[in-house]
């Protein structure tokens, strides 16, 4: 059963990569598409994660991936302010994750 699941996932990813390379579209969309797929995988873990810690891990990773998307948009649209967005998002994501970890630990915030 596990083997069959593995093969199905492999075929789906191969179809995704080939269609991403073959279908005619702009270069920026080709570069952003895999990042959207990774955001969807993170959202899967956020919705179905068995414990709160799993959801916290997925949120951490989601923040870093959004920072990466801001970098890609900076390269292709030549809009310089997106890199400021990336800096602010990285700072805010780090602080938010530390607060989330403190909350999970079950302690008071002013320790």
């Amino acid at each position: 059963m596990k083997k069959i699941n593995y093969i199905i996932c492999l075929v789906l990813i191969a179809v995704f990569i080939i269609s991403n390379l073959v279908i005619k579209m702009d270069l920026i969309i080709r570069f952003v598409n895999p990042m959207i797929l990774s955001i969807i995988l993170c959202l899967y873990r956020i919705f179905l994660g068995p414990s709160p810690a799993d959801r916290a891990v997925a949120t951490d990773i989601l923040g870093l991936i959004v920072v990466g998307i801001c970098g890609i948009i900076t390269v292709f649209t030549k809009a310089a302010f997106f890199i400021d967005v990336a800096i602010a998002w990285a700072l805010q994501s780090f602080i938010g994750n530390l607060a989330l970890a403190k909350y999970l630990e079950g302690k008071k915030f002013d320790e």
Partner: protein
């Protein structure tokens, strides 16, 4: 030439991000998910911004990209470390294949 090298680094970063998110879905418990996602997504985001730095050279945008690389390399391990400790303290069990747990003795001694 610089633009081609930059796009090459961005592609490597995107592939690393995608593999990290696949690990987030496939692995069995919180700690192994943290391992996979932290390593791959940190290198992926840093790869994307290294590509941005190559694309723009030593301008304001390129130097900001270097700042983001340093910041992500410094803070991403810290937040994963905080999440791992919080997950252990909130009582998440390790998965069934795990072999040894030296940390439990230390926690019992501290209480």
């Amino acid at each position: 030439m610089n633009e081609i090298i930059g796009l090459f680094f961005i592609t490597i970063g995107i592939i690393a991000d995608l593999i990290g998110c696949l690990g987030l879905v496939r692995f069995p418990d919180v700690y192994t998910r943290l391992q996979a996602s932290t390593k791959c997504v940190t290198l992926g985001t840093c790869g994307i911004f290294f590509g941005v730095f190559f694309y723009y050279g030593f301008t304001i945008i390129g130097l900001k990209a270097l700042l983001i690389i340093i910041f992500v390399f410094l803070t991403s391990p810290v937040s994963s470390h905080a999440l791992a400790k919080a997950a252990y303290k909130s009582g998440v069990k390790m998965c069934q294949q795990s072999v040894c747990d030296e940390y439990r003795n230390y926690k019992e001694r501290i209480k």
